[in-house]
Amino acid sequence: MKKIPLKFSIMITTVVLAAMLAGVWLALIYRENDSRVMLLPDKVMTLFPDPKPLTAFALTDHQNRVFDLASLKGKWSFLFFGFTHCPDICPTTLAILARARDNIAKSAAGAEDIQIVFISVDPNRDTAGKLKQYVTHFHATFLGVTGDDAQIGNLAGQLGAAYEVSITPGMENYPVNHAAAVFLVDPQAQYHAVFTPPLDAEVISTRFKVVRELETGNAT
């Protein structure tokens, strides 16, 4: 076996060390300059570079209290549109959000600054009493919200949440179609990010914790 000349091995070591240092330096820059870049592109969460401020709307929660723009301020809100006569996707999503909330609650920052809101697009059948029974089954802290068609349409429109309610006279189980995504509104009541299916509790909680940390970091 040939012996590698000393000069050559010093050169190799220097190059390797320089490359390692450059890697660390690039990673740091990447982190500090634009941490958002690390989260994009993402198949499950779309984070908006310029969160969109929401405008006034007026709905009512499951305890008959006003739920409006002010209700979204000071907290991170996870909003999901659905209806209680929904056998599959609504219970599935609410169960996922309940698990995600439990995961977030275990983090150092806790879950005191988040609210999970189920917005019924079917006020015809979903009364405050029914909504209360429904959402609190999944988590005691969940809020059920609904209102008249114009006000549901107002908030849904601002978030780009499509829905269709095909009320048919005499038909008890009329079809209701609704957005499958979970919308994330930040404590400044701005539409901040959206989670798209297939949803997963661990994915949602992990992504959310990063987003929250970034925003808290930016604020200070």
Binding site: H85, T92, Q133
Partner: protein, 143 residues
């Protein structure tokens, strides 16, 4: 090597037993469950993994249960970001393959439960196949 060697005899016997066991059910069901819903709710969903153990397609054509007013085969689809449910009149199971009814996808829509179902309870659902095969499957209610 002789064919009457005890090792061969045992091997053939074992293979025959395995074949017999797997042929016992044309379609087998695993992990059958129903999601517990809040009290008073009239819509539930059932999930399961069906396996066609035969070399022919098996077609699920209907489902029924004495615990519910109506049972239908449904599928949740998400189109242009909007979730909706479509009725599936039948499900064809590919030979020697599995078909999964899962949250956010295919499910048995269970309408108007006749009794209060809590996590831990069990409900029996009949599955009917085009071949005439009938399966009575016990679903576990889970949170």
């Amino acid at each position: 090597m002789r064919w009457r060697h005890p090792v061969f005899v045992c091997l053939i016997l074992a293979l025959t037993l395995v074949a017999a066991a797997s042929e016992a059910a044309d379609v087998s069901v695993r992990d059958a469950w129903v999601r517990e819903t809040p009290p008073g709710m009239t819509m539930m969903a059932g999930y399961m993994e069906l396996r066609n153990n035969t070399s022919q397609p098996q077609v699920l054509v209907a489902a029924s249960s004495s615990d519910f007013e109506t049972v239908m085969i449904h599928r949740t689809i998400v189109k242009n970001g909007m979730a909706s449910m479509v009725h599936a009149s039948q499900i064809e199971l590919t030979p020697n393959a599995s078909f999964i009814f899962t949250p956010g996808g295919y499910h048995l829509m269970l309408m108007s439960p006749k009794r209060t179902l809590r996590a831990g309870n069990r409900v029996d659902i009949n599955l009917e196949f085009r071949s005439g095969l009938r399966l009575l499957v016990s679903f576990e209610v889970r949170q």
